[in-house]
Symmetry: C2
């Protein structure tokens, strides 16, 4: 099965109405998959609905479809996960992280700009393509929200998640084990984890986070790279918040 | 801190005895880090011991050290994890998997040769270097065992792990959720998970595994790529087997 994506599909589109796929999806349907008129395809809107649609005009750039039906899709992952992470110096590792978190289950990804960030610019459009492609590969109708590069201060002040954590390795503050924290959390509670750059968060950043309700946590005994920490935190929230509810 | 590795260090080496680092580690100590005689370094044997040693002859190819002391290191991860996984067609994804599983915590990695494998050869020496480098980066004295490419049949017949799982997506057999399985498992029980290639395991492979005590499992609702499945299974074992013991 191939899942098409159309994040600009109108929310109030009705059965029998028509819609035109964007150039990329049109090319995929008509040029790559060689679909012709009458073929039924599935289109996700990125907000949790999958549309069944029939190709009416197999134009290679503006493929027109008619909506046959729509169905909400249950989220594949139990967590309600916001990973805010400083992009790695090596951008490939950040791209891997975005792909893997999308597959495993993340709701929001925020690239963070920190005091010790070695990477201070990021091409969000490129990252957005990777996230979209991973969501399609996972057959998920939910497209994670990818924010622009955000100063860590703004992320801290703007966070409205009920459970807020900052993963860091500075020795000056007591850290709880994120696993223990999550085991007592019912599934689905909005949770944010901040992950610092290779050089770690500055003391000021940790302090500011703590002043705003972020709990300092460790992700276990092993020393993890930035991108591994993000993937492990994402997996833990999905696996463990589910744990206590059983 | 930089952790040197010497997997050929004799198990019975005593304080006061000398040892020569291999060429790569010698070059790193003397050429890259510019260490001189008298510098104290830490050397892991890959079997759980960290040696404190003093450089006596800073030769750039055969750096000699004298053992000052030794200390066992607790394992960073609670699980006893064997991931047997068919190498991905794109070898970078397999290399990334090996790096991440080593960081997160794996005891044995076995590349599997399956009926639907698209990749039928693999350079284990290259993979070994990646595993070693990830163990060093994690400051772990335990080097995961990396097996040669193994036919899935031989892996199934040779498995002596107490808990055996095969993750697959064929619809013809009932699958348990690996998360539920692990929640009832005390930490540290030897556990193996088989992960198939992009094309999945063949029905014969699943049947053979089931005949030999492997329980068919799913890793959740999301469709995961081979390398993501391996990382998620590895994280689940380390995070969840720990769960029930609390």
């Amino acid at each position: 099965m191939y899942l098409f994506y159309a994040i600009d599909i109108p929310e109030n589109i009705a059965v029998g109405q028509s819609f035109v796929l964007d150039e990329e999806e049109s090319a995929h349907a008509v040029r790559v998959l060689r679909y012709t008129a009458g073929k039924t395809i599935h289109i996700a809107d990125g907000r949790g609905t999958i549309y069944e649609a029939c190709i009416t005009n197999p134009h290679p750039k503006h493929c027109e479809v008619e909506i046959l039906g729509m169905e909400p899709q249950a989220k594949h992952h139990p967590g309600n996960v916001h990973i805010a992470v400083a992009p790695t110096k090596n951008i490939e590792r950040m791209e891997w992280l975005a792909e893997k978190c999308t597959e495993i289950g993340v709701d929001t990804l925020t690239p963070l700009l920190c005091h010790y960030s070695e990477r201070k610019v990021i091409r969000t459009d490129r990252l957005q393509k990777i996230v979209l492609s991973a969501a399609k590969q996972s057959l998920s109708a939910y497209l994670p929200r990818l924010n622009e590069l955000t100063a860590v201060k703004d992320c801290i002040l703007g966070s409205d998640e009920q459970r807020r954590y900052i993963a860091h390795s500075s020795p000056w503050t007591n850290k709880r084990d994120l696993r223990d924290e999550l085991r007592s959390a019912p599934a689905g509670i909005p949770t944010i984890v901040l992950i610092g750059p290779e050089g770690g968060f500055s003391d000021d950043e940790v302090r500011l986070a703590m002043e705003h309700g972020f709990i300092p946590v460790s992700l276990g005994e092993a020393r993890l790279r930035t991108e591994t920490a993000a993937i492990v935190a994402c997996t833990m929230i999905n696996v463990l918040t589910d744990c206590s509810s059983n």
